[in-house]
């Protein structure tokens, strides 16, 4: 569309249009209330929306796409009703009239998209660093620390055996004291690498433990959901740890107040002391590192520390932003799929699905398959249903493939004895029943196998009959849905 190019060239881009009114203006001008506009991002060859998020182009009948170019390169596309193609001149005029707005909206969307990418990459860098440090901490814990702890116990046994030998007792006691010092230093080092307490007991557990450490008395108030994203929990823990260290070492504070709460999608952490003030994020300081870390997560750290009037650190870290950024990552997208399935099928809380590993998914898939008779006992259509189900649940391609080619070599009792499977017993039977009903009326032999599987894993037949009733009713509803939604348009598809 060379017209757009020429027009854009002479338009003063300082009179940038308001992006929120652009789509609305075009909707009104063209009389298409569903009209939308997407922008081309040449850097990665994606379409994005006005806020810079990836956009997908619709491929449904009745919707057309009109590309808008500038100097021969696409910059945007209108998504509109095909009816508008009947009057191309009107469409062209509307686009030309809005050219400056389109151009500036494109620049805006591109900038926003760059910012989102950059933010996501900063989060990934912080996460990768955390993962690495966590691994090193784990190795230290499982190796050197564990050995030294054992040695301390052995030295104690030796001391008891040598009770009557004063010289030996002294030697052993010297060794034990040195070992205590070494262990304490190692523990300090481990904590600096990664706060294991946060992984094990969450941010609340971590903060409670920090508040208990010797030093300044701490008044702690925590109002948080059970768990937050790892990278946020670790960041908040380090912030409070650093603030408490500063309050004790540099500020000579007599009392510290720590507050952490999660509200409206933000984690808010405040640490105030009554010390001498004067704290700042000086280059190379711990506070500067923390401000960078929090900034990388899209948050803010505010330091209020007038000389002589105490220090208040206030941090706000967005939780939803992090989640949204994280959905660019395929692993998280898979997790979202699994959460959806868990919610849709069982109203399971999202946290429940976060605990599932690939191995759990594989065991689950095998157990469902075995309950209906294994790969050798189901029809190709039932197998397709299983594969589709596991894929939709976000199971990895490896897990899906392993289930597809599974050789039925286990017995279901053994699989059900594996960790976590006990919680899934009814879910497995329900899914097995759904497989039975895939092609309408179930095969009695298959149903019988499911009931026998239920016997061996300890679910009473009455409960299975009730599950079967649910599945049968769902089939009826599915049929009704089909008749209401699909049948009326059948000739068209």
């Amino acid at each position: 569309m060379d017209e757009v190019q020429r027009f854009a060239d002479v338009i003063d881009l300082e009179t940038a249009g308001n992006r929120t009114t652009l789509a609305e203006t075009l909707r009104q001008r063209l009389g298409d209330s569903a009209l939308d506009i997407v922008y081309w991002r040449p850097a990665n060859g994606h379409w994005i929306d006005e806020l810079g998020h990836p956009a997908t182009l619709p491929t449904v009948p009745g919707v057309a796409l009109t590309a808008i170019e500038r100097r021969g390169e696409p910059i945007a596309a209108l998504i509109h009703d095909t009816v508008l193609l009947n009057n191309p001149q009107r469409l062209r005029d509307a686009i030309l009239a809005a050219a400056d707005m389109i151009n500036s909206a494109w620049v805006n969307a591109e900038l926003r998209s760059q910012l989102l990418d950059e933010r996501a990459s900063r989060v990934r860098i912080v996460e990768a660093g955390d993962r690495h440090r966590r691994r090193v901490e784990r190795n230290l814990h499982d190796g050197a620390q564990q050995r030294l702890v054992g040695t301390a116990l052995t030295l104690r046994v030796a001391s008891r055996r040598a009770e009557r030998d004063a010289a030996m007792t002294e030697l052993l006691s010297d060794a034990a004291s040195d070992l205590d010092v070494a262990l304490e230093e190692l523990r300090e080092l481990s904590r600096g690498l990664h706060p294991a307490i946060v992984t094990d007991a969450g941010l609340r557990g971590g903060l409670e433990t920090l508040a208990e450490r010797p030093g300044v008395p701490v008044s702690l108030s925590v109002d948080l959901p059970e768990r937050l994203p790892d990278v946020v929990e670790v960041g908040a823990y380090y912030l409070v740890a650093e603030a408490l260290t500063n309050a004790k070492k540099h500020a000579a504070a007599g009392q510290v107040t720590v507050r952490a709460r999660g509200e409206n999608g933000w984690l808010q952490v405040t640490v105030s002391d009554d010390g001498r003030g004067g704290a700042a994020a000086r280059p190379g300081s711990g506070l500067e590192g923390l401000a960078d870390r929090i900034g990388a997560l899209g948050g803010r750290l505010n330091i209020d520390s007038p000389i002589g009037s105490g220090t208040t650190l206030t941090a706000a870290i967005p939780l939803r932003l992090h989640e949204r950024v994280a959905t660019n990552n395929p692993t998280d997208r898979r997790m979202t799929a699994l959460k959806w399935i868990g919610w849709q099928n069982w109203e399971a809380p999202a946290e429940a699905e976060e605990l599932q590993t690939e191995e759990d998914n594989l065991n689950f898939g095998k157990a469902v398959l075995l309950a209906v008779g294994g790969n050798s006992g189901i029809t190709p259509r039932q197998r397709d249903w299983m594969i589709g189900y596991l894929t939709a649940a976000g199971d990895s391609p490896e897990v899906v493939e392993a289930v597809r080619t599974y050789d039925d070599s286990d017995v279901i009792e053994d699989i059900m004895r594996l960790p976590k499977m006990a919680f899934s017993r009814r879910g497995i039977l329900y899914d097995a029943l759904r497989v039975c009903y895939v092609a309408g009326a179930p095969d009695p032999a298959q149903l019988d196998r499911v009931f026998r599987a239920a016997d061996t894993i300890g679910i009473p037949r009455d409960e299975v009959r009730e599950l079967q009733q649910v599945v049968a009713e769902e089939r009826v509803l599915q049929r009704r849905r089909y008749e209401l939604i699909v049948v009326p348009v059948l000739p068209l598809i």
Partner: protein, 124 residues
Amino acid sequence: VHRRPLRVILVDDDERFRAMACRALTTDGVEVLAEIDNGEEVFDAVAHWRPDVVLLDIRLPGMDGLDVARQLRLEEDGPVVILISTLDAAYGRRVAAGLAAGFLPKDQISRAAVLEIAGLAPLP
């Protein structure tokens, strides 16, 4: 006064550590009824041995020590649970208090320490 030998179950996934802890406890006159290397088997062992105390490592493969403690707490007449870890100060008493009788750093495992945390020690 606690007269009969203190009976404990030791749960830790590190075999070498278990051997040393077991030797230290035995030297102190504590009876170690069973050594277990994972969280899942704790429940059967507790039902079978009826120990006075379970010394429970926090970091276990699979079901971790905090989960095991949480579940053991629900059992009527259950044993005293003491969480153990190589990470001392990182696990405060408050963390343990909600779930177990207390917390004991692994290098300080002894009869006296166990009795004290379990509240079984005679008054001085």
